[in-house]
């Protein structure tokens, strides 16, 4: 059984490390709320397994995140709304 550690924002997850989505930070209003809604629609829902498969050239930005059978390119800011539990 994989052991679980404390949730951290997706932008802090080390590259290639498997994790499961723990929760989503929901801003009260504005464009960020739209963004978060879209992230959930795209499958960033609690329980889904994901992994960062690639990172941008400078400053680990943007991130390519594999969730299910799809890879998404996210900026670190966009990824910070997704809380994940790394699997060891």
């Amino acid at each position: 059984m994989p052991t679980r550690s404390a949730p951290l924002p997706l932008n802090e997850l080390p590259e290639q490390r498997w994790a499961t989505v723990a929760d989503i930070t929901v801003p009260d209003h504005g464009p960020d709320r739209e963004l978060v809604l879209r992230l959930v629609e795209l499958g960033f829902v609690p329980g889904e397994r994901l992994r960062i498969v690639a990172e941008g050239i400078a400053g680990r930005d943007p991130l390519a995140v594999r969730v299910g059978h799809t890879t998404f390119a996210l900026r670190r800011y966009e990824a910070s709304f997704i809380l994940v539990e790394p699997l060891s």
Partner: protein, 617 residues
């Protein structure tokens, strides 16, 4: 129920996420029986076609813009939502075909459940069944149909008979339409739907324990910070080498063909204004349009193939960070790359950029990418600057391309600063699985690009060439003594009037005259210079005479100044027209023209004055 009361689908619409193979399926269903236009009042492409069902009935098919959700974030998604919720000028379809990706049902099923609330009769097409089989993914279509409560068929949009099951379903009578219960879902509703998706997915799809999709392994190389950039460099290098070599070779044939037709008309008709209009205006104009096609189509062949294969979104990923420094996002990469063929399809490709400010910036800088119409002018001037030195000429040529790109980034940066926007621009984009490009979609995509160019650019170039011919031919009321006929024409008069504007940047009257018709298309500057200097012979002969003349007669300062002018100047009326249309604003059109003119003038002024000073001392 008596048979007469049964209704069969006559108007259907394809709904689905981007990258589900929806357009490939549309192409397979309709073949060449397609009509491409815009939705009323918006710059979103509307594709409609006709298919024949297994039973031989004709059905209209609408290919809705790709959407991840009816909670629209982009113009495309808003159009799709409005059409299928009945809030547009479009009639509601009798039947929605929800196209999903068999290798990615987890993502695509949510849209099906959302669409179910609309109350319209639905069919689910599980596309890419061949790929799913290869990856060891087993889908129980019957169980899926039971769970979803609607017909489900498997399709393979890249095989000739891959839509047969779907065509059979279209011969069945329609289910009854029920009132729509759809409303924009909130977070809670989306989560609820996602739970339902997870449940259905688990009970109907069996995936192998190990993911057999090679995409992740390929990505480790393609998106590697070092190897990825190296590969991108090689890909772009090969692309542009092909545009230059193969494109120039094909262009040669078109030039020969045009010359042949012109000679034929010339020999068949007596000399006179009508012959002049036909040969120099009409044939010259059509030839001047067609001559760009090879280079544009080769660049678009590469762009479409690379996009279809899944590579270009990765390139956009790699370039996102550098481009974000200039206030853009990786999404601007494909439109800007297209602008190297021609700014018009490039500007139209900005429609895929969801953020309006990002899109506007991309539109504004698209004309700085060296389009194919600049190539003949660059080639002429560069050759005149470095006669008999191909290496230095090539380096200067590359330098001109780089100058355009660097300036574009600088302009984007200034635009970002001046609007003072601190809002995070969103990248969020799917990097679809790698696949081989589908030849049918490639051919149709290429044809569409060619038509965009011929309609939007071609008609303007053709019309302007005829106007220019008239300006050249009609003598000016104030005839000056001496000089070629052209100097005494209306065009000469315009050039004469512009002389004082252009004198500080080193352009003599001859150049000023040639720049005016260059508004039709930049490359016309070359043939206009030939006319101004009254050079005789075919295109190649005029070219070499011009090159020799420029190398001999123009000062170094003038040559450099004109090169810089060609990099920046807003020398293309078609671009203006498209900017007006795409931004729906005269202001942005004039703003673009104004800043490009200012940039061109200042760059040329600086270059001319500095070079003159240096060469004089």
């Amino acid at each position: 129920m008596p048979l007469t009361q049964l209704a069969f689908p006559a108007n259907i619409a394809l709904l689905g996420n981007p990258n589900c193979g929806k357009t490939a399926l549309f192409n397979l269903l309709t073949g060449s029986r397609q009509k491409v236009a815009n939705y009323a009042g918006v710059t979103v492409e509307r594709k409609e076609g006709r298919l024949r069902t297994a039973g031989g009935r004709r059905v209209n098919v609408l290919d809705l813009p790709g959407a991840y959700s009816l909670n629209a974030l982009s113009n495309d998604e808003a159009v799709t939502r409005d059409v299928i919720t009945g809030h547009s000028a479009e009639a509601l379809p009798d039947l929605l075909v929800c196209v999903t990706d068999a290798t990615n049902l987890r993502l695509h099923l949510r849209m099906v459940l959302e669409a179910k609330q609309l109350g319209l009769p639905l069919v689910v097409a599980v596309n890419k069944m061949d790929r799913a089989k290869k990856l060891g993914i087993r889908i129980d279509l019957e169980a899926l149909a039971r769970e979803l409560g609607m017909p489900v068929v498997g399709t393979v949009s890249i095989q000739a008979h891959g839509a047969q099951e779907l065509l059979k379903v279209l011969d069945k009578p329609l289910a009854r339409r029920t009132p729509s219960t759809w409303q924009p879902p909130d977070l809670h509703a989306v989560r609820h739907t996602q739970h339902e998706v997870q449940r259905i997915f688990r009970s109907t799809v069996h995936e192998p324990a190990v993911d057999a999709d090679p995409s992740e392994r390929i990505d480790r190389v393609i998106m590697h910070p070092f190897w990825g950039l190296l590969i991108l460099g090689v890909v772009l290098f090969v692309t542009f080498i092909s545009v230059f070599s193969v494109g120039a070779w094909l262009t040669g044939f078109i030039e020969q063909g045009t010359a042949w037709v012109a000679a034929l008309v010339e020999s068949a008709m007596a000399d006179g204004p009508l012959r002049g209009l036909l040969v120099e205006g009409l044939i010259g104009g059509v030839g001047g349009v067609l001559v760009f096609l090879p280079q544009i189509l080769i660049l678009f062949l590469f762009i479409l193939a690379l996009e279809d294969s899944g590579y270009l979104p990765r390139a956009a990923f790699l370039l996102d960070k550098p481009m974000s420094k200039a206030g853009l996002s990786g999404r601007s990469f494909i439109p800007l790359l297209s602008s190297f063929a021609c700014a018009i399809p490039g500007i139209m490709a900005t429609r895929s950029i969801t953020n309006w400010r990002d899109r506007l910036t991309t539109i504004m800088i698209a004309p700085l990418m060296a389009c194919s119409a600049r190539i003949p002018v660059y080639t002429l001037l560069v050759a005149a600057l470095f006669p008999g030195d191909p290496l230095e000429a090539t380096l200067l040529m590359i330098g001109l391309y780089v100058l355009g790109i660097v300036s574009a980034m600088a302009v984007a940066w200034v635009m970002k600063r001046s609007t003072g926007s601190t809002r995070h621009s969103v990248l969020l984009m799917e990097l679809p699985s790698y696949q081989w490009p589908d030849w049918r979609s490639l051919a149709i995509g290429l044809y569409e690009r060619a038509m965009i160019f011929l309609k939007r650019v071609g008609t303007i170039i053709l019309a302007l060439t005829i106007v220019m011919w008239a300006l050249y031919t009609i003598p000016s009321p104030r005839t000056r003594n001496g000089g070629s006929p052209i100097e005494n024409s209306l065009a000469g008069e315009i050039g004469h009037a512009l002389k004082h504007v252009f004198a500080p940047i080193g352009f003599n009257e001859h150049i000023a005259i040639a720049l005016v018709p260059g508004m039709a298309a930049r490359e016309v500057v070359v043939s206009s210079l030939g006319l101004v200097y009254a050079m005789e012979g075919n295109e190649a002969e005029v070219g070499s005479q011009l090159e020799a003349h420029i190398a001999r007669e123009w000062s170094l300062a003038t040559k450099l100044s004109l090169l810089l002018w060609m990099v920046f100047a807003p020398q293309c009326l078609s671009t203006f027209v498209v900017v007006k249309r795409e931004t729906n604003s005269w202001t942005y059109m004039w703003l673009m023209g104004g800043y490009l003119f200012a940039l061109a003038y200042l760059a040329s002024l600086f270059t001319y004055q500095l070079t003159s000073y240096l060469t004089a001392h």
